[in-house]
């Protein structure tokens, strides 16, 4: 099999203390189904080691976990090499029920954005989301609009944002974040 390459091959940019980075290949599986079903809960726990996340929450820690996408959809995050195995696991665990599990690792791009409050401001410039520390904390997840494209992000315990978008617009989102960082802090969230 050919070697997996992420959308910008590990590009990184730092401006005014905010670092934008191509997070490299990340394993992502879209899972749709009844999120309250016991079978699904068990399968998600087995794959990610975490329970099914609550509404607009993410359980991703150390590159593994799940994000709440909608009332019937999760985004399972695993190391890139384990995505196919995760799909196989879900298909055997949920067989016979109404569900869908698809490996979308290569359809999406992952970026990380770090730099404390300044990073929050960079993201707040392009998304209609309240990103104050009181409103958006570690473990929170949000699907939204980032300038002209759809995207999603969650915040981890180390105050780093993990941004997910379609791979085809990955370069655009990287540019958005980089330009936001270049423009410098606004001061509204400080």
């Amino acid at each position: 099999m050919s070697e997996a390459v992420s959308f910008l091959n590990g590009a990184e940019a730092t401006h005014n203390g905010v670092t934008v980075r191509d997070a490299g290949p990340v394993g992502m599986v879209t899972l749709r189904g009844d999120l309250s079903a016991a079978k699904l809960k068990t399968a998600v726990k087995k794959i990610t080691g975490q329970p099914v996340p609550g509404v607009r929450k993410s359980t991703v820690t150390g590159g593994k976990g799940a994000c709440w996408m909608s009332p019937d959809e999760l985004l399972i995050v695993v190391p890139h090499a384990e995505a196919a195995a995760a799909v196989a696991e879900l298909e055997s665990a949920l067989a016979g029920g109404h569900f869908m599990a698809v490996n979308v690792s290569d359809a999406r791009a992952c970026l990380t954005l770090s730099g404390g409050v300044a990073a929050r401001e960079v993201l707040a410039k392009i998304a209609p989301v309240d990103l104050s520390t009181a409103a958006f904390g570690a473990g929170d997840f949000r699907r939204t609009r980032m300038a002209q494209v759809a995207g999603a992000f969650w915040l981890d315990d180390a105050e780093t944002f993990h941004v997910v978008c379609f791979r085809s617009v990955g370069h655009y989102v990287f540019g958005l974040l980089e330009n936001g960082a270049k423009a410098g802090p606004v001061g509204v969230l400080a």
Binding site: M69, S70, E73, P128, R143, T144, R145
Partner: protein, 109 residues
């Protein structure tokens, strides 16, 4: 700018995260209906200044459709409720009545 709150995922955001889907509570008239009924279903829409009911989709979020009651005059929303609803919930009707006594919209009042 309109501020909406999605009843499916609880996100409160401005209208660019959503997409309007036209009038709510349309009753379909298909094969077997009269020409007048079919024309009404296909083309006739409410276009009032004031209370209005619409379909919206949380397009850049959870992707779900929902219904909303709003005032086209003040851009105020009275409430949001699931798309699988045949008529506006009573609490939303009460809210509208408090602001617009005697309102009516199609068969609802």
């Amino acid at each position: 700018m309109l501020i909406l709150e999605c009843p499916c995922c609880g996100v409160k955001s401005e209208e660019t995260e959503f997409h309007a889907g036209g009038e709510a509570h349309l009753k379909r008239f298909g094969p077997g209906s009269t020409d007048a009924e079919f024309e009404g279903y296909l083309f006739m829409r409410e276009n009032k200044r004031g209370v209005h009911f619409e379909r919206w989709r949380h397009v850049n979020g959870c992707g779900k459709w929902f219904l909303a009651a709003r005032d086209t005059n003040t851009l105020e929303f009275f409430g949001f409720y699931p798309a699988q609803t045949h008529e506006p919930p009573q609490d939303i009707k009460d809210k509208i009545s408090a602001k617009h006594p005697g309102w009516s919209w199609r068969e609802f009042q």
